[in-house]
Amino acid sequence: MASPNDLQFQEFEEAAELLSADPGASTLSIPATNSPPTASGGGEDVKLDLSEDEEGQEESSELLGGQKPAGGFWTFEYYQSFFNVDTMQVLDRVKGSVMPLPGRNFIKHHLRSNPDLYGPFWICVTLVFSVVISGNISTFLSQKGDPTYHYRPQFHRVTIAAVVIFMYAWLVPVGLWGFLKWRQGTERQIGGYSILETVCVYGYSLFIYIPTSVLWIIPHDWVHWTLILVAMVISGSVLVLTFWPVVRDDTRVMAVATVATIVVLHTLLAVGCKLYFFQTAPIPIPKPTIHGALNTTKPH
């Protein structure tokens, strides 16, 4: 496949021309949950290329295989359509999030209009527990030499980590999706992503933090910061490569601002987790000797 960038650019133009020529033509659309149908035949439909390259054929046949959510939101089958993935597909998406190649849009290349909720949900859960457990081990290792240190499981951190990570992984994509739809309304932006795809790409982009948090057990500061840098570059580039084609049609300022906000929020999450859960400086324990003496005299 030669020069995917050119191919994508041609996709949008060709499809837009085709659509303007014949507004009533059938378009391949990604199932969107809350979008009112607009006059131009689904404003947020991704105009996939109906060209003859192999990838297009694969995508069309997959789409025509029936990816639309079945039934209303009160039926079980509706939610089952969000979990329509196999093991190999999930592994492939995880691999794609760890090795972003320029020109490979995660959503177009890996999701292929079959976004799932399995990946984002279980990656978030795993990340919560890996951050808490690794942080606990790292704190323990960094204070092993301290004779007054008494090991604590610090289980309350699970609640904090869960709230922070789930809010980031689910609210930020919704906010970004809303913002992009608003910009799409005012400016002419070809191709947006559905809310599910945005949540999906954010969820999978968090995967790199799981091995990073495990490696943060090594109690050296320079190791921590190097790992953060590497993880942020990889994870951030997945997000940037996904959203740049959508925002670059916007005005220069808005495009750069959007991408910068995405990167900054991602950075804040990584640095915040590192600073809160992995403290290499010893935690000040208030008056340990006096408490220790009191505890040994009190019967428990």
Partner: protein, 227 residues
């Protein structure tokens, strides 16, 4: 005459007489099979001890199935939630009395253990059903709950070890016990659950189970008594 003609077919009957000498006797027995069956099914009259023992025996039988997990459908067919409740309460109680319950740096509270076990089981069951599994909701809860038993046993062993041996030797023993029981739990639950999953998604269903028992093992291993 009409009356005479009418009585002619029955004329012979007037000669028949039932003498009082011939005893009329016999057995009229109404089959009581249906009511006897009702008696067997109705457990209303049995002593309370019998009722409780029956449930306890069912729970005990399932414990044995978890100890020697092979692909049997006993756990699935007659599911019950008494066993999981018993195990959950025991584990949560054993996890109490840990490091400094007063400040919030300690181990999980009773409610946190409950929430993790029950909500964890519910989420895993939902996940398996959403991926196309054919197991029913309560059957899956039953299996996941019963397979916590090795970890509860490990918790009891850990507390005993902490009473006697401390330091790195004690930690090594606890680590070994918890690792073995974690592997046992995961293996037992997958032995019961994998049959009902679609073939190309088995790993997707097994991974959350692995994570669930890993978190519980972590809670068991990091239990440190207050000093």
């Amino acid at each position: 005459m009409a009356a005479a003609e009418d009585s002619r077919p029955f004329a012979g009957l007037s000669d028949v007489s039932i003498s009082e000498d011939i005893p009329v006797e016999g057995d009229i027995s109404v089959p009581v099979g249906s009511s006897r069956r009702d008696d067997e099914l109705s457990t209303l009259d049995e002593p309370v001890k019998e009722t409780i023992l029956r449930d306890l025996r069912a729970v005990g039988k399932k414990f044995v199935h978890v100890l020697y997990p092979k692909r049997s459908s006993a756990l699935l067919r007659d599911w019950d939630l008494w066993g999981p409740l018993l195990l959950c309460v025991t584990l949560a109680l054993l996890l109490q009395g840990g490091a400094a319950d007063s400040d919030n740096q300690g181990g999980p509270q009773f409610a946190e253990v409950f929430v993790i076990i029950w909500f964890g089981s519910i989420i895993i069951t939902l996940n398996s059903k959403l991926l196309g599994g054919t197991i029913s909701f309560f059957q899956s809860l039953c299996v996941l709950g019963y397979c916590i038993m090795p970890l509860t046993v490990a918790m009891a062993v850990c507390r005993l070890v902490l009473l006697g041996v401390t330091g790195s030797v004690g930690f090594a023993v606890r680590l070994a016990v918890v690792t073995v029981s974690f592997g046992w739990s995961t293996f037992a639950s997958t032995a019961f659950l994998t049959d009902s999953q679609p073939p190309n998604r088995k790993a997707l269903v097994v991974y959350p189970v692995f994570l669930f028992y890993f978190v519980i093992s972590w809670m068991v291993l990091t239990f440190s008594p207050s000093q």
